[in-house]
Structures are given as C-alpha cells and as structure tokens.
Symmetry: C2
Subunit: 673 residues, 2 copies
C-alpha cells in the first residue's frame, strides 16, 4: 500500500502512521480484517521502524507498546473489555506503558486501528481507563452514481465532478483495482462500511450487473471486503423484464418473484456478504411498481423477500415526484410528494426494507427544511440520504464544507424542540447514506478540499454528535501533517472552510427558495431557469414579492405534513425561521425579517457579502503557498479563481434580477447592473 | 428515377410530369444536362405514353408537340431566340401547335424543362410569343450544416430537424447516392444551383474533406452535376495547420498560401467545376485570421487567390461577433458587430470573395431589421444568407412558411424608400444563400409542409419578385396533384400556411426583441434564458419596461449604421415601425404603439391571438383528411398537436412573465397564470 505517487493519499499519508509505525505492536485475533490490520501495521513499521507480532497466544504483554486484540481471542486480556462492543466497536485503554485496543470482532479492530491513526502520538501518552467507541449508526453507506458506459448526457459519473468512475472503465470493470482498494482503505479510515457501486439511474448496460456482469461486482466486493466495506448494487425495477426476459415486472407476479429469488440467490453465491439492492423506482422516468398498479410497498417487499433469506436489505428511495408538472398549476407541490407517496404506506414495508429519504423535501439544495417523511413513518426503517457530491453546492469548484449543513439535519428534532433527533431516528433505523464525490481524479474529489466532505460524512455517520469544526480539524491534521507546525496552515484551512457553506448560501438562492441554477448542469445562476419548467421547482417572484406559500391556511399545505410543533412554526412568516422564509411563504420584498432587514435588502446584502467573502478566501489561500504541495496549492488556487468569478456572477445575476423586478434600490448604493 | 416508395416525391410526383410525358418531344443539343433533360422526358413518357426524340438535326418540327433546343445546336430554330439568355435562361413560345423551349446552354434547357413541369397542361394550350426567363441571381445556394461524424451536442445535422444527413452516413459518404440524386433533381426543379455539402462549423473529420476525403466530395459532385448543381465545401481556416501540418495558418505566410494553392489545385483536379469554399472564421470559436493579427480581407483573399485560377469563389461569412460578452456591459451591442468588423474593409476583398451576410444583424430571428452591412459595402460582393431550416421558427414542428419573411428582406430598400432593394444588391453581386432544412427523413424536411420553404427559397432566389402566395400555390399544385380537384385542399393549405410566419411571430418574442428561446436547443420559450449569458442577446425587461436602446442619441448607436433614411426612421420610437420597436428602443409597458395599443396589451393580445390561431390551424387541417395521403395527414396532425401545445406554452410563459414584471392586468381579463 505504498501508493501510486500520482494519486493523492488524502487523509492517509505515510506521516499519519508515524506514531503507530514506530511502535512494537501485538495483534491478537484471526480473520480477513485482522489480516488487514496486521498488513497496515507491517507497512507502517517498514517505513517508521516499529515491529508487529501477530499471535494467537499473548506472550508477555509488557514487551509491547500496543496490543490490539479481538475479544474472543484475547484470553486473559478479555477481562479488561467493557460491555458490548458490537461488531464494529472497540475499546481503548492505556496503562503500564501499553496501549490496548480491544474489539469483539475483527471489524472493530480495524476501526480501532484507524482510531489510533487519528490519535497519533496521543495514543501513546497518558494512561487512561478503557474508553468505548461504537458507531451510532450500523450502516454508513456511500452511493456511487457511476455508469459503466459513459452516458451521453450524464457522463461517466452522474453528477460527478472528479473525473471518471474508479469502479468502471472502458465499458467494463476498471483494471485499476489497486485504486479501488485505496478507496476502500480511505473509507474504512473515516468509518464508511457500505458502498453501492453503480448509479441509481440504471441504464441498459448497468442493468446486467445483476446477471451477466455479476462477476465484476464480485471482484469489486473482493477488493472492498478486506476493509469492512459491504457491496450493494443499484438495480432496475424492470430487470425481470429487461434482463430476465419475462413479459412483466409486476412485483406480485409469481414468475417475477421467483426471478428475483433465483437471481438474488446467484448474487449471494458469488458474493456471500452482499449488502443488498438500491432502487430508484417510479422516479424521473425510472420504471416502478406503479406501472402495474402496485404500491411502493409491493415493489420493495418483493425485492426484500428475495434478499431476506440471505440477510440483505433493499434501500428503496423515497425520491418520487411528478417531474412533468405544469408550472401553471400552483396546487401541486413537489415538496409534498415524498410524504404523499410514502406516509400512507407506513407499516407495510418488510423489515429488511429501508426507505431512503433525501434530507430535504426537494433535492439536495443548500438550504431546505428537513423532510417531514422522517417523522411520518414510525413503523418503517428510514435512512437519510445526503449528497457529498456537490451537485447544488458548487460542484467541487467551490469550497463548500458540508458538515455544518449535515449537522443541522442530524440535530433537527422532527417532533419539536426535544429529541429524538433525526440522528436518533436513523440510529435506531436505517442509517445514513450519501452520494459519493469521488472519481478517478488524482485528488479523488477534483477540488482537494472537497476530500473533507467525504471524510466528514464518514465521521458524522459514525458519530452524529461530532462537531464539524473538530472533524475538519481532524481531517486537516491527517491530510496535512505540516499543519502541525506553527498552526498557520490549520488556521488558513479553518478560515476557508468552517463557514464556507454559509458563504455559498449567501451568494446563491436566498432564504431557502432554492433552485436558481442553470437547468441541466445545475452550475451557476439562472434565476428563472427552472421557473417555467415541468420540474416543480419555482420561486414565483413577481414585481411585488417572492416565495412559495406552503402554509396550510393559504398555500399548498406542505407545512401541515410536519408534527404540530414544526407545522406551527412553519405555518406563519411570523414564526418561520428567516433562512426558510421563502420556502414556506410568499412575501413582499419589503417584508421585514427577524433579522430586522427587509427581504430585498437581505438579498442584496448577502449577495454582496458572500461574493466579497470568496475574494477574502482566495486571498487567505495565498498565505498557504509553501505550506502545502505546490500542485495542490495551484489546484485549489485555480478553483478559488473560478469560485470568485462564479460568486460574482451569482451576486450580479441575482441582484440585477431582483432590482429589475422590485425596483427597490440598494440602501447602500452599491453597483447593481 | 422511379423512386423509393419510402421517400416522399415532394414537388416532383409522377403526376407533375403527366402533361410532358404524354407529348411527343424533340430535344436538340448535347451535353450532360441535355442528357438529363432527355432522361427525365423518357422516364415521364414511359409512365404517361409520350415519346422523346433526341437528334442533332431537327426533322420536321411539326411532328412534335414540344421542341427543346439548345440555341447553338438549334440551327434554323435559333432564329426564334430572343436576345441573351445567359447560361441558365430559356425562352418559351408556342405556335402552330408546338411549344418551343430555347436555351443558350444546357443548364437553360434543364430549367426550361422544370418550367414546363410547373406549367403542366398550360404549356400546351394557347399560342404565345417567346417569353424569356432568366434567373435574377446567378448563384442560388444551399448550405448544409451536415457533419460526417455525429457531433455529441449538435448531432448529425447542426440545427437539422429532419433526421440525419443525406450526404454523410456511418462516419463517411452515404451509400444512398440515389437519395442525393433525387435531392439534386428537386433542387434543380426549384432553381437552386449550388450546394455546400458540409457544416460551416468544420470539425476534425470534416476538415479532411479538403484532402484525404476529397474523393467523397468528388463523388457527391458527380451526382449533383447532372442537375446543374455546383459543389462547394466548408473549410476550416486552420486547415493548413490542422490538416496540412504547417506550423501556422497565417494567411500572409507564403507556405500557407502555397498550401492553399496546392490543395485547391488538387480539388479542381478531382472536381473540375468545383464551386469554391465557404468559411466561418473568427466566429463562435472557429479559427480565423485574427489569431495571426490579420484582417478578414487578408484571410479571405488568401483563399480567393488559390481559387481564382480555377474560377472558384470564397463565401466568407460576416457572422462575426463576441460570443463571450459580459451581460453587464450595455455598451457592447452584438447587432453592431458585423458592420463594425466588415464595413471598414469594404474594397479590400478580391473579386472572387463573396461576403455572406445574415439577413439580420443578430441571428435568423423571426423578426429583425435587415442587416446594415448590405448598404455599407458597395465595393464588396455580397450574398444574403437566409435560414430555410427552422432553427428559430419552430424547428419543423411548427408550420411557418418563411417566404413572406424573405420577401420583406428582399424588398427592403437599404438606402430609403426607393430601390435598389436588397434583391437588387445581391442580384448584381453575390446571390442568395440559405441553410438547408433537409435530412434523411422520409418527407425530406420532417414536417411535410416545410418542403414549401425549400421550394420557395429556390423560386425566390430565381425570381426575387415572386409573390409568396403564388409560390406557395405553385408548390401546392405540384406536391398535391389532388389539390386541383374542387380546390378544397388548396384553400386549406393556404389557410394554414399563408400567414403562418405572422402567427409564429405573434406567439413568440414580441415586437422584434427576439431570442426568448431555450438556450442550446432554441426551441420553446424561456424569456430570461439568454438574458444573463455571454451571447449578447438581451431584452433588458424590468418592472417598468423592455427593449434595447440602439439609438444614436442614447443607445448603442446601432441605428446609425444605416444610411440616413433608416437611421432616421429607427432612431426614434415615434418613427420606428411597431414590429421592430423593442429591437431599437427601451420603452415603458404603457408606451402606445402606432397600432394604438400599449406595449403590454399588445404582448397579451398577440400571444392570446397567436396561440388561438394555431388551434384554428389544427382544426382546419382536420378538413384535409382523405384529401392527402393518410401518412402525411397523420404526420402533419401530430406536428400541429405539438405546435398547439408549444404555442400555448409560449403564450403562457410570455404573458406570465410580463404580468409578473409589469403588474399590468390584461384589459380583457383573460387567464394569465
């Protein structure tokens, strides 16, 4: 795992293993993942002068700086283990000059290893009693929207901004499986434990991954498995017909169910620990059960039935809405769609169905309310879907550290001010899922700083209570060992990234209205771009005001999909938070926000401020010259140039649009074109 | 030429040859085009019972119903020939029961043949003295924007709405040369005599037509030649570098000039009657002389110098502007660009350079003023470029008969109310050019009624004084022989088509402002679609008014590019014609038009009226059921459905946009969403 010098090591540079690699370590336990731990330690020791012993029977423990042991194999050491560590948990203690990591299973030991990587020298400092670490969420999954064949419109990776797929190349499986292994290692190091290897929009070639191309999936699974990553597959609901040659894909048809059962059995023969299926059905043109007059529960349960004997799950996406809406029809509200489609089905889904719900009711906007579906289906397993790939948040040309956004989502208490939070719901239910931002780019993510989003997703999925700034700090420390110097680089990166989501929000669509992006690409401003389209994403700006009335009293009633606390809060502009005002209400440009500012002046102010802050970010980054690799510095600089340009374009288009429409001049007389 | 039953015969169905084919005809003359005349007559006679004799020495003329003779070969008959017929002219007379067609050259005889086709039985009715027919314009050219390789964005035919290319298929020359011959025959029958066989945006593969793929061009030329069609080629200005391997394409570099000379010599070796080159240089990303600090005259003259020894011409497009404009910069005006770039160069172009000027200063909009370049370059040969393909006029999904638009352009008197007109200018100069609307569709043009645009282009290029309704009538008579019945079908088609351009104008962008189309595709409405883009096509609508101030006094000064008469007329809203008001002026929504209506009410009225008229058109077409081939009826019906839908979409988006912006309600209280 010395690495191809053309691929950036991300948060696992050699230096991150310096503390571990210079110690004498004893590893106790058996299994594939224990072997991975040993291999990692051996590689580190080869570089940093330490030593590794891998034995069944512990010798004299005091000879070692570090003992890593799987519980069942630890013999006498097991006495020190605290309660239930679960499959992936581990305990860390230090006494008598020895650090001890205990796990109940090999996966826990692997996570313990990366805990030590993060801790560095601190893992070998002060003595402390056992501290237990367990993931809050059992499944922490990344969905890859990767195509095998380069799609004529959507490209190789749909909504990918980091080059081609790392899994698929030249119309088949990648030949660079080492790259896949490195990816698996990075994921394990941040806590991700499941991956879907193809796009949820399953095209013709990709549909055969389930059958003719299954061996390719198995090969990927073999590469991912040593890092504790389970492999999942996006499948087409129409597969029994398009791939299986049946005359129907009706989920209640016995031949169809039999086809799924047989096909799934073959999948498990090839991949015994296969995770399951991900399905986008009846959504944006994808086939689904509605074509046969069946419900989403009928559809999902048929697949679940096939997976159940093998322990697999179905991730069934709740991203279902009418994408052929008539913009003239103000009664239809896309925000309502997921709830309207799925809430009535609560309780009808099998136990191994996980309903995968986007965090907001629309589509990964930089600001949306949290989806009301999360509170509406207590008898259904729910996963929340985030988007690490920056489709609507700057496409990895803009710095936009997303952990603060996810933090707000996870902290949201759907039933009111008190827990349970969204994090609590998914912790006891379906976990977190996110769309990956990784491609075959040398920096993995195009923008080198976008690596932090991938890292933070894993860390927040493991510990939804983590502080975004602390996670960022951890990422900085690992990725830029030089940041440990006088702290300059660390401060620069925090200055650039801590508030970058807020900055992005400032210069883009105001006050939660969303979707003022160029149709198709979703990059850059186009205030009216989606206003008269069938996509259901409107702002209704006229000369007097802007916003979507989603109140129960006078609007689409979407606010009423929430439990009483939030239904009340969102119902009135008086109680609605400023940042969501235009999502829930149509107000005049002169409406005064809780901030004391009018809507129109808020638009001007935030757009001037946001664009100005990107200039400051670029200036700040100049200070990092010499503190990071030149190539990385240049890459970030070039993207900051684009961010500055793009932010100015956003500022000017949005401000001009609203000046032209409202006629209200800027209170400070700044230039609006 | 019996024809593939899968391809529609357009305006040359068998029935069109009934009168000719039932006569006894003597053809006198020699040469390729005379052979074509004989072959056409033989084919017609085989179907309709007549006979053809082709002899050098005329026998007893009274034995024939028709004598077609090339002047020089006509012996005694030549005495009847009136003055100078030119290469393509012919004279028609009838006396003593014999119709006589005389030409000075074979091409004239071919045109005389199609004259008789158009005349039908009338050609054999009353006696009349010789009538001379000569084309007003020497060159009547169609440009094909066809690619060899299917372009990933622009497709096989750029801005083509009738399927793939008829010239190129599967990455090379079409195998269906019969289709090309049929096309040539249709063109000859309407008067077109030159064709450019590839896209003006010359991509890599297409650049080699000049060299490696020259044999393919020669093959096409061989097929086009028998119908009097000259072959032209679009070339890349960078060819010496990209194809020739030279280090530069600097037009003043001797090696470059030598390369063009050698390359052109080889072209003429392969195609002795080759027409010449068409060049889009320094435009929308295409390379040009500016890259070497040279002028358009330098560039064009270098190619002209290479072509001159062989009698070829360069069509050099004047469509040059900054397509990376800043929308914030109101000082730059794309409308000014062609004049600003080219007028200073008047007199500097060689005699065999033809400057090809789009009819309007922007880009083929349904309504633009006529380009001021036409009056600005008296010492330069000018061709006017029209667009038969309906890029901005409904993309062959909408009925939009364009001859009335072209009629207005040709009748425009650039120096004032008196001639010369545009038609006069191009008649003594460079001719007419148009972008073809033909593809490999079974109806040639996708929308069967769009055939009329191709036909009318040829007929107007031959006779710019022709009446659009009469040309349409002629087309109807040829294309739908059944229309000769009780006249019902003829009336239906006139009802649908005569005013269809006006109807289209009504429901699309108002009052000459243009470009409210979806970016990229240019189909359907998007009022702000181009408003904040680099393309230079803005409407500047705000809550108070709309339009571009192009006056000298307060605007961009574009109005001043016209000679005094029009400079005066366009300078003030008081004198500017209503239909161009927003092209030249920014006015308030309450501004009262010459029509007596306010701008805003005009917008509402025309959009309601235009959309309503498409409904009437569809209703009217229903009456044609049974009067035309069922398949054709269905094809037109299906497109009318789309036109009705699209027109309603235009109506609603435009009206809603302006209601939201102006706040002025419709005076008649109609539904605006």
């Amino acid at each position: 795992m010395t690495g191809d010098t053309h691929v950036h090591p991300a948060w696992l540079p050699d230096a991150a293993f310096a503390a571990l690699g210079s110690r004498r370590t004893l590893v106790i336990g058996e299994g594939l993942l224990v072997d991975t731990v040993v291999r990692e330690l051996e590689a580190a020791c080869a570089r940093h002068g330490g030593a590794v012993h891998h034995r069944e029977d512990p010798p004299h423990p005091h000879e070692f700086d570090l003992i890593m042991a799987v519980h069942s194999a630890a013999g006498a050491l097991a006495a020190q283990a605290p309660g239930d560590l679960g499959t992936e948990g581990y305990a860390v203690a230090r006494s008598d000059g020895t650090t001890l990591v205990l796990a109940a299973a090999p996966a826990g030991l692997l996570h313990g290893l990366f805990h030590l990587v993060r801790a560095g020298e601190a893992a070998f400092a002060d003595a402390h009693p056992p501290a237990v670490h367990r993931p809050a969420l059992a499944r922490r999954m990344l969905d890859h929207w990767d195509n095998i064949d380069v799609h004529p419109v959507m490209g190789h990776v749909e909504r990918g901004y980091a080059g081609g797929s790392i899994f698929w190349q030249g119309g088949g499986l990648t030949r660079d499986l080492d790259r896949v292994a490195r990816y698996a290692r990075l994921l394990a190091a941040c806590g991700v434990n499941a991956v879907t290897v193809n796009n949820v929009n399953v095209h013709a070639t990709e549909a055969t991954l389930l059958t003719d191309r299954l061996a390719d999936v198995a090969t990927l699974a073999d590469v991912l498995r040593p890092y504790g990553i389970t492999t999942h597959l996006s499948v087409s609901f129409a597969a029994p017909r398009t791939v299986g040659g049946l005359p129907t894909a009706d989920p209640l048809d016995l031949a169809v169910r039999d086809w799924w059962a047989r096909t799934t059995r073959r999948v498990y023969e090839a991949i015994p620990d296969f995770g399951g299926y991900v399905v986008k059905a009846d959504s944006e043109g994808q086939p689904g059960p509605s074509g046969y007059g069946r419900s989403h529960a009928d559809g999902a349960n048929t697949l679940a039935e096939a997976l159940a004997p093998h322990g697999g799950v179905v991730h069934w996406r709740a991203f279902v809405y009418d994408h052929r809406q008539d913009w003239r029809d103000r009664g239809t509200d896309r925000a309502r769609a997921a709830y309207d489609h799925f809430a009535p089905l609560d309780g009808q889904f099998d136990d191994n169905v996980i309903l995968q719900v986007k965090y907001g009711p629309i589509d990964f906007q930089p600001r949306e309310p949290v989806s009301p579906v999360i509170a509406a289906m207590p008898h259904t397993r729910l996963a929340v879907e985030l988007q690490v790939t920056q489709e609507y948040t700057g496409q990895q040309r803009h710095v936009c550290y997303l952990a603060p956004l996810w933090r707000e989502v996870l902290d949201f208490a759907p039933w009111g001010d008190e827990p349970p939070t969204v994090a609590d719901v998914v912790a006891r239910s379906g976990g977190l899922v996110a769309v990956s931002n990784v491609g075959d780019d040398a920096y993995w993510t195009g923008h080198p700083l976008a690596q932090a989003n991938l890292y933070a997703f894993g860390r927040l999925a493991w510990d939804p209570g983590a502080d975004p700034a602390a996670v960022l700090d951890e990422w900085i420390g690992l990725t830029f060992p030089a940041a440990g110097g006088d702290g300059t680089l660390r401060r620069i990166l925090h200055d650039l990234m801590d508030d970058s989501w807020s900055v992005y929000e400032q210069y883009t669509a105001p006050l939660g209205i969303g979707f003022m992006v160029r149709p198709g690409t979703h990059y850059g401003p186009d205030v009216d771009g989606y206003e008269y389209t069938p996509w259901g994403t409107y702002h209704f700006a006229d000369r007097d005001g802007i916003g979507v009335d989603r109140s129960r009293a006078t609007g689409t009633g979407f606010a009423g999909q929430y439990p009483p606390h939030w239904a009340y809060v969102y119902e009135s502009p008086r109680t609605c938070p400023d940042e969501l005002l235009l999502f829930f209400h149509h107000v005049g440009y002169g409406h005064v926000l809780h901030s004391g500012e009018t809507v129109i002046q808020h638009i001007y102010d935030t757009h001037f401020a946001g664009a100005e802050r990107t200039v400051a970010m670029r200036r700040r980054w100049a200070d990092a010259a010499g503190l990071v690799d030149d190539d990385l510095h240049a890459r970030v600089s070039e993207r900051l140039d684009e961010q500055v340009r793009s932010a100015a374009e956003w500022r000017d288009q949005v401000n001009t649009y609203f000046l032209r429409k409202s006629g209200v001049p800027d209170a400070y007389g700044r230039t609006i074109h």
